[in-house]
């Protein structure tokens, strides 16, 4: 292909990803708004409407207590997303903090490196179980557990980034000029880190959500007032043999769709921030 066609293809690829991202964002946002707007009465037990399969008026059917499954699933999605957002934000901030600390000296770097390896050394779920247990096993504990298990990978990436920046010529010159570490941090490190942070954040989000769902599925953070997809599926497990398949299939499908939307948003964002990445 000649140069013009190559540029056109690149722009097209980027444009396509941006469009995908935007569509995904709209879909997800729309679903959440719809869930929020639904009548709260649908979430409460309604005697006489128990265990109805999907049909007119009940797009996802109802559960054993007559609660509308679509309303609960959408609320559960909202909870999962909130937890994911909180967790991803916390993880990102922790990663930033630790990567910055690691730049203070060799000892600090070694300690941070050890911390990262320690947390990677345990399977995700085991570490989450430990943290959730440490914090008493409620809903807050689940959030903290998810938050405290995703920072290692981002920390590593940021450390590498920071190291590359610090050894760059212009930073060495800045130091020679007498600029203090704060200045370096603000003017050089942070701007470099921001795109990585944003991308890391958005990439972390689907993982955080899936992990939150897994943690509530196995039984932590059960609070019937705030449905979560994992909790819905755990309940469904008990009634599969009664033939109520929709309790197990549909909420999970919704979660899958949401995660796919988030992945779409992630690639759109990457395309927007770093055009080179669009080609990957």
């Amino acid at each position: 292909m000649n140069a013009r066609a190559k540029i056109k293809a690149r722009v097209n690829a980027r444009g396509r990803l941006l469009l995908t991202g935007l569509t995904a964002a709209l879909l997800l946002g729309g679903a959440l708004l719809a869930g929020h707007g639904m009548d709260a009465a649908l979430l409460r037990p309604r005697f006489g409407l128990a265990a109805l399969p999907p049909g007119p008026g009940y797009p996802f059917g109802t559960d054993a207590l007559g609660r509308d499954l679509l309303a609960r699933s959408l609320r559960g999605l909202e909870t999962s997303l909130l937890v994911g957002l909180l967790a991803a934000t916390a993880s990102t901030l922790i990663a930033l903090l630790l990567a910055g600390l690691a730049m203070l000296g060799r000892a600090a770097d070694a300690i941070v490196g050890l911390a990262v390896e320690t947390c990677i050394g345990l399977p995700h779920l085991v570490l989450m179980i430990l943290v959730a247990f440490a914090l008493g096993g409620g809903v807050g504990a689940v959030v903290a557990a998810v938050a405290l298990t995703h920072w290692p990978v981002l920390t590593r990436i940021l450390r590498a980034e920071f190291q590359a920046v610090l050894t760059a010529d212009y930073v060495i010159h800045a130091r020679r000029f007498g600029h203090g570490p704060w200045f370096i941090l603000r003017r050089h490190l942070l701007p470099h880190a921001l795109p990585q942070l944003a991308v890391g954040f958005v990439l972390m989000l689907p993982h955080a959500i899936l992990h939150e769902a897994a943690l509530t599925f196995v039984g932590f953070g059960i609070a019937p007032a705030r449905p979560s997809i994992g909790g819905l599926l755990a309940e469904a497990l008990g009634s599969l043999s009664a033939g109520w398949w929709w309790l197990g299939v549909l909420p999970g499908a919704l979660l899958l769709a949401a995660v796919l939307c988030l992945d779409g948003i992630a690639s759109g964002l990457r395309a927007w921030l770093s055009p080179r990445v669009a080609e990957a």
Binding site: I120, P123, F133, L237, L240, G252, A253, D263
Partner: protein, 338 residues
């Protein structure tokens, strides 16, 4: 010229062995750190250690007995002292007693790990083989429809909630079609020595299927990248010019090129594999280590939880170690850097 080569020359150790030794030491250090972290988290829990120690029997124990237990196990001592005490015991092989199962922790972990392994090993191999095969097919003809389908499939897999897939398999194959048993490791009513291999396999099918599907993604994508890269090499073009078929070239040359990296990914993914096994065990009521971990966490069985943390860290650590060794073997440049 790195320090290690000079040092190794002095010690007359081959560089690979030196690397291995260094990594083993690091693994040991890591395990101690993991133990410290797990211990700190367990102590931070709002659970009274005497209660946790006694389990359900705590209800019937009076205050004098509690004080005696606290003194004997050192619960009234500062945390670092307790940690060292526990670590010392653990190194001697005594991980304490599980309050849920009323049996030594080491025994519980041993039994349960064996059950989990029966699940994880076939799933690991199958997932790896499937992933490799798919990656090969995808990379052999980059950009083709097969490549796109496989990429889409791998992409979907990363977004899939593992426990949901397991539930779907259960609904379709066990509940609706009745082709597979609904739960557990063995058919009901049979003593362990009465269970035939065929029956064990029948019970393994669904959980292994669920678990292996989850492991396919990363291997497939990585293999695909490596195979595609290999297919772009010059002498491949030369082989094509000589009339060799695409499939033949892919199998002969690209596969070899991608095999070791695929294996590396497999070993590095052992942590995720265990995570997947935890939820699969929950769905299929499989009596493995994952379910024991959940029970321990939900029901404040601190000795068991700590024991499992150590055991799984060892498991993951070994996996990472082997992955690093393989990565070394693949890319000689890394050897110098180590």
């Amino acid at each position: 010229m790195s320090v290690s080569a000079a040092g190794a020359a002095r010690l007359r150790l081959p560089p690979l062995l030196a690397f291995l030794l260094r990594r083993l030491l690091r693994l040991a250090l890591l395990l101690v750190c993991v133990a410290a972290l797990a211990f700190a988290l367990a102590r931070a829990a709002p659970v009274d250690p005497v209660e946790a120690f006694l389990g359900p029997a705590a209800a019937q124990v009076g205050p004098e007995q509690r004080a005696a237990i606290a003194a004997r196990w050192g619960f009234d001592q500062p945390a670092p002292v307790q940690f060292l005490h526990w670590l010392g015991q653990a190194l001697r092989g005594d991980l304490g007693e599980s309050s849920i199962f009323a049996a030594p922790v080491a025994q519980v972990i041993g039994e349960r790990f064996a059950a989990s392994l029966a699940l994880m090993l076939p799933a690991w191999i199958l997932g790896g083989a499937l992933g490799f095969g798919l990656g090969l097919a995808a990379g052999a003809r980059e950009g083709g429809w097969l490549d796109r389908v496989i990429r889409l499939y791998a992409y979907l897999l990363t977004a899939l909630p593992g426990f949901w897939l397991a539930m779907l398999l259960l609904i379709v194959f066990a509940v609706w079609l009745g082709w597979a048993p609904v739960c557990c490791a063995v058919p009901p009513g049979l003593l362990p020595d009465q269970v035939s291999l065929g029956q064990r396999l029948a019970h393994l099918v669904l959980p292994v299927a669920a678990l292996s599907v989850l492991g396919v993604g990363p291997v497939a994508l990585h293999t695909r990248a490596k195979v595609a890269e290999a297919m772009r090499a010059d002498f491949v073009l030369y082989a094509f010019a000589q009339g060799a078929g695409r499939a033949e070239v892919a199998l002969r040359h690209a596969a070899r090129h991608a095999a070791l990296p695929a294996l590396t990914i497999l070993f590095a993914g052992m942590g995720e594999l265990f995570g997947g096994s935890v939820v699969a065990e929950q769905v299929f009521a499989w009596p493995g280590l994952g379910r024991a971990a959940i029970e321990a966490g939900l029901r404040a069985d601190v000795p068991l939880l700590l024991g499992i943390a150590l055991a799984t860290a060892l498991f993951v650590g070994c996996g990472n170690l082997i992955a690093d060794l393989l990565a070394q073997a693949v890319d000689p440049r890394q050897r110098r850097r180590a």
